[in-house]
């Protein structure tokens, strides 16, 4: 796939190695025990704890930026005697320094968490919901619909998501709903492919065959038999997609594609407005928002990986 793909690896590996448990053999209590055991492993994993702490910090910043920062994102920083501080390196007055017009970089970083944390999770959730539905249906029924949909999925995957997003958003304009919708649609094919593979594997197991022999209809088998058995894969897929959604949102913002009804501060926008000054050694207005993007992506990756490991343990 051409959207960044690390995900694929993760998910493909998951599908391949996922412990496939047959619910007919396991009583309800056993499955509950397995889940509880998985949660225990998860909550003890240092990577998971670090990831949750970092993501938690950014969620808090997005919800209550005023609590963590003294200046507003558009305020000009002044010293006590009223002098403006422009392009000031990090100091006790401005922890992360000030940018070329004299705004506080630290306050902008705190306020910049909001746009990413609105767009990326919503887009990832829609994509995973749509992709799961599509993947379940084509994976269970197979046949010519599967053949056709799989070709269309391949077609989408042959061009990098970021390129398609650029084209769509320049053509259709970039309000927030359009950005969310575009990312959701462009992420759906890869989710569908992963879920399709998982569904194909599940559909060969005895419990599906016995449900068919009981005379259950396809809808029942998909929603009540297969779906509960691939929730682990869906959860991992959701976290992995979230990471890529943040990647995509940040890159689009960096390229100047942000919601017109812009928000006061945005990490990607701040990087793009300031990076040319790096050559003049004014690194702080670029590096801090860049590190913010890196930190949240790393945190989401750590969470995705620990969930993946815990569900396989």
């Amino acid at each position: 796939m051409t959207d960044l793909p690390h995900a694929e690896d993760l998910t493909a590996a998951t599908v391949f190695e996922a412990e496939i448990t047959d619910p007919d053999e396991l009583g309800g209590a056993t499955r509950k025990q397995i889940r509880r055991e998985q949660r225990r492993i998860l909550f003890r994993s240092p990577a998971f704890i670090v990831g949750v702490l970092i993501v938690g910090f950014w969620i808090f910043s997005a919800l209550f930026p005023g609590v963590l920062s003294t200046w507003g994102p558009k305020d000009f920083v002044t010293t006590d005697d009223g002098a403006a501080l422009v392009r000031e390196p990090p100091s006790s007055d401005a922890w992360f320094g000030t940018d070329r017009v004299g705004r506080d970089v630290y306050s902008r970083v705190i306020h910049g968490a909001r746009p990413v944390l609105i767009v990326a999770p919503v887009a990832a959730a829609i994509a995973v919901a749509a992709g799961t539905l599509l993947g379940l249906v084509i994976g269970y029924y197979k046949g010519w619909v599967d053949e056709l949909v799989s070709r269309i999925i391949e077609g989408f995957l042959s061009v990098p998501v970021i390129l398609l997003a650029i084209i769509v958003l320049f053509t259709f304009g970039s309000s927030r709903p359009v950005i969310i919708g575009t990312i959701a649609i462009l992420f759906t094919p890869v989710v569908a492919r992963t879920i399709r593979a998982a569904t194909l594997a599940e559909a060969q197991l005895d419990y599906v065959t016995s449900a068919k022999m009981r005379g259950e209809n396809g809808f029942f088998i998909i929603t009540r038999e297969i779906l509960p058995n691939i929730t682990n894969i869906i959860v991992v897929e959701l976290t992995v997609r979230l990471g890529f959604a943040i990647f995509t949102v940040a890159t689009l913002a960096f390229l100047g594609i942000v919601a017109d009804d812009l928000t006061d501060a945005d990490w990607g926008v701040d990087v793009s407005e300031n990076y040319e000054q790096i050559a003049n050694d004014v690194w702080w207005p670029t590096v801090f928002p860049a590190l913010a993007i890196a930190s949240i992506v790393i945190a989401v990756n750590l969470i995705a990986d620990s969930i993946d490991k815990a569900t396989r343990a």
Binding site: P5, S158, I167, V168, I278
Partner: protein, 320 residues
């Protein structure tokens, strides 16, 4: 084998046709008159008409689709709207060459380091080295390349004159100078892909090390080096080859942010600028080029795997 190749080609062709349908539909679905958008709000009716005609928007959608197929077959997408007198072919070729140089150099750095780390991690499975390679790789991967790009600029290019902030060398520079300018963007690619490729290689190597044929090879008395060279790697690296193939399309067209940060005129930049200026001919030519690269690269990867693993070759050929 031939049957297998033909089947793969046919599937790629269907995929390409589906993509062309999407590309045809986009300007037709766009709100407002795309010709108006391109020609500007104050364009004369004549200018508007000529833009509409050159886009083929007067024709029905199936006709536009057929025209686009013709463009792809002849590799002639006409002239750019925003850069008068310049053919799409010429613009794409120049950008493609630039992307090619960057991708080749980036892979020359990324693949040996990542594959080496992956094999080492598998060999030393569950050691500290293994855990660090996996965790660091995971943490660094999927950091957007423009982010690692600006961080490298700030911490390497500014203090150390050897590293360059721009990737575009002065004209007529030597090969060494060219590579010097391309070093930081290539390192950004390494940061993104290291974890991914190391992980895939590690997983492949572990599977291969556990296999019976590896045990047999060790029991025959071969040295570790011989076992790796003759038996393990041939099997272990197949997933790595497959993944590298699927990533080539991304490397050629998806590094938009990176090309932007380092002011490098590659394919991603060309397509971004074309989208900004509603330069549909360049846009089409660029996107089709990226898709073709993806298809050729995945096909190439499959063929290499078939060569590495006769079993895969027979299985897929027999199915076709």
């Amino acid at each position: 084998m031939l049957r297998y190749v033909l089947r793969r080609l046919a599937l790629s062709l269907v995929t390409l046709l589906i993509l062309l349908i999407v590309i045809t539909l986009i300007p037709n679905l766009a709100p407002g008159d795309p010709a108006r958008k391109i020609a500007g709000a104050f364009a004369s009716p004549e200018r508007l008409q000529s833009v509409t005609e050159s886009l083929g928007l007067d024709d029905s959608i199936p006709e536009q689709f057929i025209d686009l197929i013709g463009d792809v077959v002849t590799l002639d997408f006409g002239d750019s709207f925003t850069r008068p007198g310049q053919s799409v072919f010429g613009l794409v070729r120049a950008a493609l060459w630039n992307s090619f140089k960057l991708v080749l150099f980036a892979l020359a750095i990324t693949l040996p380091i990542s594959i080496g780390a992956g094999i080492w991690a598998a060999y030393k499975k569950d050691s500290i080295a293994d855990r660090s390679i996996v965790t660091v790789g995971l943490a660094l991967s999927s950091i957007p390349e423009f982010v690692s790009g600006v961080i490298l600029q700030a911490f390497l290019a500014v203090p150390i004159a050897f590293f360059k902030v721009s990737a575009d060398p002065p004209p007529g520079a030597s090969l060494a100078t060219n590579l010097n300018f391309l070093l930081l963007p290539a390192l950004s690619v390494l940061i993104v892909y290291f974890g991914y490729i190391a992980r895939i290689t590690r997983a492949g190597t572990i599977t291969s090390l556990d296999a019976d044929y590896t045990r047999t090879a060790f029991m025959k008395g071969l040295t570790t080096r011989q076992v790796f060279r003759r038996h393990v790697l041939r099997n272990a690296l197949q997933p790595t080859v497959a993944v590298t193939g699927t990533q080539l399309g991304y490397l050629f067209g998806g590094l938009v942010g990176l090309e932007f940060v380092f002011n490098y005129p590659g394919l991603g930049r060309l397509i971004l600028d074309a989208a900004r200026g509603a330069d549909y001919p360049v846009l089409r030519g660029g996107v089709v080029t990226v898709a073709l690269i993806y298809m050729l690269a995945t096909l190439g990867a499959d063929l290499i795997i078939a060569w590495m693993n006769p079993r895969a070759r027979l299985a897929q050929g027999g199915e076709g």
